[in-house]
Assembly symmetry: C2
């Protein structure tokens, strides 16, 4: 048993025996319940070697298990080999989630230990229904000698169409209405949005690891981690202090909350059980109002987002041109090289700040995995036939992009052509949907799925997620997917529209644009909304089975491609522009 | 103040003062939370004069209010005039429901009195969060001198493809699994389904007002109200007693439950707070398993339902022929006369037991009201132009039907033609939908609405409701509508598909078939379901704007109309058959 992870799990068991703990849960999240944690909080990876983005671990005296979803089943089985830990499947009909599994294994009142910083107040409440919960801050640090510290990257200010003062004034009105004396913002994108600041503490996410406590006459930002040496951060700090915002050490948020005497609004979905305990009986637990406000982009943000997508589209079109010419000329291009090349085209853009997530560059069976990780070493060569899929996005001072294009690299099979066409039909049917204002996303998810369902096809992921303004590429609470979530769609929201079709071991297709929710008009039947495409990049029309598309769907496609050329044509070199003119030439209807 | 209802409300206030009650709530339901109560429980009508099917009343010392939904706003305002009671709107964005309204009016712990028989345990729980709830059995009987008794109509046995014994065996297995010693069935359709008996205690609903208490080794039916004199009921009682079912007085259910010593499963959504109190700490509150089982029709029921719809279709086609010829010949036909005539055609069918709800027969502005009540006196004459709408259904020993047809009575306006076409497009798009097994109805409701939404249109009612087997024409829990209800659609369910378009003061269109959920096939993407039309009656193709329909929608329509003729043609007189052949002749596509 020389496996390093098996040894770490055994070391944890020794600790458990010494402390009298019956089970330890290690969650994949950080103290802010971020979707992507910084290295310090990749605790599941440190303990078990599992590198998937979602997965929680439970260790008891005689069992170690990893709970993860369909995306990671194959990977989990491979990575857990020889660790002694086993896979527990989630998002399958027969799933047994952690609290239920613990109830089946441990007696009522058994002692379950968790990292009280990385456990949300809501998660702790659920466990307390059956168990004695022991919360230890930084629990794994006892065993993890060289654990990374909390990152501190340069913090800079941004323009976002609405000043920090305006946002704070709005939030203080919300406090009054709710009868709270202060609010703790624990979600990192909420802090960044409110203060109009960004950094790069987390890969792909322009966030500052910090907490923000706002009352009617004070604002305390728990942001200091180590000495600040860079001038950008210094300037930012000066400016915020000038606005009356007090800067405090990150580690002191708990003490400050314990000392605060008023009613403290916190969101138990993102605030840790450690902080909720510090607030004691003065905690007022309710969803943060910032999440819903942040979803609705303001007019300035919308203007910049539109422009940003034109610049991003230029980069993607240059990339697609280069790829087609290179592969067409018989050059060897690997999936990884293609991803790197796309990044280079994006880096040419003025306000580019980095990618918004790790590019998925895949052909053949790789593309059949919706969450494929493009290998850097032994990367597959993109072949001169079949479909190539690229899902990527950029972070810009003027917005966040996320686009998937699937393009033919040569001859395609009838199945590839059919799947390409039906997935595009699904994309168009959602993109062109109209719906009453306030309709939740789960009620229009079917717009994309019905054309697939009719052909006994479906896809296992959501159809659309919210997207931030130079913030997270996944932004809630609104979504367009299967879950019966009631969050209404309203004007100004940015969402993805990304249906796909995946054939295991063969190929995958996904067509993704970001879309803006806009007014569609008011009649005697009510007020309606529709989507405006933000992403500007042509859809390839050479692999379509036109018999599967209705006339109006072809018209939509012609309109969209024409708009792409109108927006990008003059921004491209003559040769690429000519190529794009050809690519966007309309399908002629009889 | 000579209004009789104002006097009754004042009499109730005198009672309240004497008893020290701060408020009285009078619900529209009966002790079984039936959708349609018998005369005895039309308490809201007795108290306020309001005749709508849904409406609850609250009386306090200085306020009397009726809570009802959009369907009844106009009617409520008219009927409440001079009663002193005012309308409180529900199903509108700004609605304030009864518990919330009471909280705004009364102090914490105020005394709220209710009829403990007509108040569900769940409703009482909600009130108890803020108030002292006083439950009085038959509260209004103190004031309502000539209150009708509990109806007792002849009870007969039916065939339903599964014996009483089989159903009881299944239910007893459910009891074991849940760890209950007995279950109380309080919903009338559940009692009728389990015992394979029917009666006509409630208009349009073939139900027996009774309770059923089932344990592992006993079954007690609380059904006796007065002396039984008719031989059919005697035969039924003999047969059930022969099967070991004990017959007890309806009024003794409370005493029996109080005396029962085991764990008693009851459904707090339909069991009264009176009975839950009788069960005390031995109550195990959970949804009844019968509701979900009853929704899935067995093979014998399905066979009979298909046949029943053919016979029902013959009646409707005869009616439509008669109507077209009569109005076309310039005869005076009122909406009421038309409804009566349709009933006569249905009554010619062998196993017809009555209508399944009150026929809506309407032209012009009447049809614009989805829940129009066709007047018997001064009934509007059906004019020789525009659209006529008829929503009706029959109860048969072999099933329950529900059909709406909208037909042209002569020339139609462009708006009528467009609305007729788009509502039919909506109907077809849902009827032809395919979806993964287990999808909840709210996720496919959009199939019918998307084509309307695209034209900035919508309708305010649900798209589909469940339908029983010779039982309620509205049967839950599954539904196809806006509410985010998670009940999955599974094979064997019968639902309506009834989108509409309503133009206030002008016209209304609704196209309704009942559909059966059937297997659509299994692929690598999962198991899929689709709908099979049960209703057999042609859709008129003479008022279509074909430019609004896709080719496949026209093909669906041609197929359906051809199937209708194939099923009904030989069952009609030659003249009507010839007419139907013409009506179902396919639309020719270029």
């Amino acid at each position: 048993m020389s496996n390093i992870y098996a040894e770490r799990i055994e070391a944890l068991r020794s600790l458990m025996r010494g402390r009298g703990w019956d089970a330890v849960i290690v969650w994949s999240g950080d103290p802010h319940q971020s979707e992507y944690p910084a290295e310090r909080w990749k605790q599941v990876r440190w303990l078990t070697g599992f590198t998937g983005e979602a997965g929680d671990v439970v260790v008891t005296a005689d069992h170690a298990g990893l709970w993860t979803d369909t995306r990671y089943f194959i990977q989990a089985v491979e990575q857990l080999e020889s660790t002694g830990a086993v896979l527990h499947k989630t998002r399958v009909p027969e799933q047994v989630l952690i609290p239920e599994w613990l109830r089946s294994q441990l007696g009522e009142g058994a002692v379950v230990a968790v990292d009280s910083l990385c456990t949300s107040a809501a998660a702790a409440d659920e466990l307390r229904e059956n168990f004695t919960v022991v919360g230890v801050p930084d629990l794994l640090s006892i065993l993890w000698g060289d654990r990374p510290g909390i990152p501190q990257t340069p913090i800079f200010r941004i323009q976002a169409g609405e000043s920090r003062e305006e946002k704070m004034e709005w939030l203080r009105a919300e406090l009054s209405e709710r009868g709270a004396d202060a609010i703790l913002l624990s979600s990192l994108d909420e802090v960044a949005w409110l203060l109009n600041v960004r950094a790069s503490d987390i890969d792909y996410n322009p966030l500052v690891i910090s907490y923000l406590l706002i009352g009617q006459d004070f604002a305390k930002w728990f942001v200091l981690k180590e000495d600040v040496e860079d001038p950008v951060t210094e300037e930012t700090f000066d400016a915020l202090q000038g606005d009356g915002i007090e800067l405090l050490p990150y580690s002191e948020v708990g003490l400050e909350i314990a000392a605060f005497e008023g009613r403290l609004w916190l969101d138990s979905a993102t605030a840790s059980c450690e902080l909720r305990q510090a607030a004691g009986g003065r905690a007022l637990e309710a969803p943060s109002p910032v999440a819903r406000r942040k979803e609705q982009k303001n007019p300035q943000e919308i203007e910049w987002i539109r422009e940003c997508h034109i610049r991003d589209g230029v980069a993607v079109e240059k990339f697609l041109y280069w790829l087609e010419k290179s592969v067409g000329a018989g050059k060897t291009v690997t999936e990884w090289e293609a991803a790197v090349r796309l990044g280079q085209y994006r880096a040419e853009i003025d306000d580019y700040q980095g990618d918004s997530f790790e590019t998925i560059s895949a052909c053949g069976k790789g593309a059949a995995l919706p969450h494929y990780v493009t290998p850097r070493v032994d990367s597959p060569v993109i072949e001169g036939h079949g479909l190539y899929l690229c899902d990527s996005g950029g972070q810009y001072l003027t917005g966040t992009t996320d686009i998937t294009r699937t393009v033919p690299m040569g001859e395609c099979t009838p199945e590839e052509i059919r799947d390409y066409t039906l997935a595009l039909k699904a994309h168009i049917d959602l993109a062109s949907a109209v719906f009453p204002a306030g309709t939740p996303g789960c009620r229009i998810d079917a717009a994309a799925r019905l054309p697939l369902w009719r052909n006994l096809m479906d896809f296992g992921h959501g159809t659309g997620h919210g997207v931030g303004f130079f913030l997270g590429v996944h932004e809630g609470p609104h979504q367009i997917r299967q879950n019966l979530d009631p969050t209404p769609l309203v004007e100004g929201m940015v969402s993805s529209d990304e249906p796909g079709i995946y054939r295991e071991g063969r190929h995958g297709v996904r067509h993704e644009n970001l879309v803006l929710t806009v007014d569609a008009g008011t009649t005697e039947f009510g007020h309606f909304l529709r989507f405006e495409p933000l992403t500007m990049c042509h859809f390839d029309t050479s692999v379509l089975d036109l018999s599967l598309l209705d006339k109006w769907e072809i018209e939509w496609l012609n309109d969209y491609n024409r708009t792409v050329f109108e927006n990008l044509g003059t921004l491209l070199d003559e040769e690429v522009a000519r190529w794009l003119l050809d690519k966007t030439s309309p399908i002629v209807l009889e």
